[in-house]
């Protein structure tokens, strides 16, 4: 089978497994009442591994899948947020972020904080005022705790995602920041 198609199927499977684990286990793992968001970690890993385009595509589908399980926000809000986050992480990875040991957890930390803020801000603009119902303190708590969750969980998730994305167009171009594909090194387009 075409290796690019195989990689896409593996990424799709990764997203489905991630959302099932998120619903079955992720929402029980609350620190200060805040649960991790495994999907946003996957999206950040996609941006890091495959670049802006791959991050946008994976972000859109991951967000759309997430929207199917949310009840108080319209379908498309998570897709919009994750798509922009994935693209932004991918663009930064290609132009600014250098390969370092802590690249994945630090990017996950900052990317998740940005995703939470963007989700609430976009929702507020689109009339979803209930997202700010818990007040600023709740928003800050979610940003901080969810970001820390992402930083910790991004290490195993980054490894698994890099395995899933090996052979895909973006991963071939950028290389994976961690995981099996990283051994081949980064092959930038001049």
């Amino acid at each position: 089978m075409n290796p690019v198609l195989t990689a896409r199927l593996r990424i799709a499977l990764f997203l489905v497994v991630a959302i099932v684990i998120q619903t079955a286990l992720g929402t029980d793992m609350r620190v200060a009442g805040v649960a991790p968001d495994l999907m946003v970690i996957g999206v950040i890993c996609a941006g890091l591994t495959g670049g802006a385009e791959s991050g946008a595509w994976v972000g859109f589908w991951a967000g759309l899948l997430t929207d199917m399980f949310l009840t108080s926000t319209p379908v498309g809000l998570s897709a919009l947020t994750y798509c922009l986050v994935g693209a932004a992480v991918g663009a930064l990875r290609a132009s600014v972020l250098q390969e370092r040991k802590l690249l994945v957890p630090i990017t996950a930390l900052v990317g998740t904080a940005g995703a939470v803020l963007l989700f609430v801000a976009a929702g507020d603009v689109l009339g979803q005022t209930q997202l700010m119902g818990g007040g600023r303190s709740w928003l800050i708590r979610v940003m901080v705790v969810e970001s820390l969750w992402s930083a910790v969980l991004s290490l195993p998730f980054g490894y698994i995602y890099a395995w899933a994305a090996r052979g895909s167009v973006g991963a071939d171009r950028l290389g994976a920041p961690i995981g099996p594909s990283s051994r081949t090194g980064v092959v930038p387009t001049k």
């Binding site: 619903t23 079955a24 793992m29 926000t73 498309g76 809000l77 997202l131 818990g134």
Partner: protein, 279 residues
């Protein structure tokens, strides 16, 4: 540092995806919960529910372990508090008979309905709320078990929320801490009020409706129950919360009251849906 060529293709892809997302948002917002996207949501939820149930059952021990490890401090404090309460209850055993009589009298005075007369469906929580901004949870039964939108959901301690939407095999429960949730409650002195959510883990805010009566005298620890007045969405007598804070701002005629919900659904696995609808 490597320099990468910025492709217009990436910008086009991003623009198309953003437009697609905005289109979906617009369609869903205009459908008011009854459009094609809502049906798709229900179908996806139904399709995933067996997998969710199986994964939830398989991963429950890991989840319980992690929850226990994360909440170790609070569980220890709670255990200590419960031990003290047990010791207190043992010392009160002598006067239990009198207290029981008082309790029965109170029930008669408040005319609490016999909760057992309302048919219920036992349900299991399969998702504790996907997003940190989503004050809802998913249960493992739906319209096939007689569950419908608007039905009250309770647990051993009291009110949990209401059924927001139901598919054939799952249902979404809006928690009483949701900012869009409101329930009529009775206060001291015949006053009625509405208690509304302010977000998960936040106390409920009580707004007093009956201004013609003398202001209610409430104290911290008082239990507040549903009124069950006509047009109310809940039957009478379901405990909602305990008064956690009472303060009267300078110049205000009525006190500001906050309620701590009696039930913390994050610590529960099973709930009861009351097959009840307003008369």
């Amino acid at each position: 540092m490597a320099v990468y060529r910025r492709s217009s293709r990436t910008r086009n892809v991003l623009a198309v995806l953003v437009l697609a997302a905005l289109t979906l948002i617009t369609i869903d917002a205009r459908s008011n919960g009854s459009g094609a996207l809502t049906s798709v949501r229900g179908a996806v939820s139904d399709a995933f529910s067996p997998l969710q149930r199986a994964t939830h059952a398989a991963l429950a021990p890991i989840g319980n372990f992690l929850t226990g490890a994360i909440d170790y401090g609070s569980l220890r404090a709670e255990n200590q508090k419960l031990r003290q309460e047990v010791a207190g209850l043992q010392s009160q055993a002598v006067s239990s008979s009198a207290a029981e009589q008082q309790y029965k009298q109170l029930l008669q005075e408040m005319n609490l309905p016999f909760v057992g007369s309302i048919p219920t469906v036992a349900v299991q929580i399969i998702d504790q709320g996907f997003s940190n901004f989503d004050n809802s949870l998913t249960i493992n039964k739906g319209t096939a078990s007689g569950i419908a939108a608007g039905q009250p959901v309770v647990a051993a301690g009291g009110l949990v929320g209401t059924v927001l939407a139901a598919t054939s095999h799952t249902a979404t429960v809006r928690l009483l801490t949701d900012p869009s949730f409101a329930v009529g409650v009775g206060l001291q002195g015949g006053n009625v009020a509405s208690a509304s959510g302010q977000g998960r883990f936040e106390p409920m805010r009580v707004t007093i409706d009956s201004t013609k009566l003398p202001a209610p005298v409430m104290k911290v620890g008082d239990t507040v129950v549903t009124t069950g007045l006509s047009l109310e969405k809940f039957p009478k007598g379901i405990p909602v919360g305990k008064v956690s804070k009472v303060s009267t701002p300078p110049g205000a005629a009525e006190p500001t009251i906050e309620l701590a919900p009696l039930v913390n659904p994050t610590r529960l696995s099973y709930l009861q849906v009351l097959l009840w609808s307003p008369a």
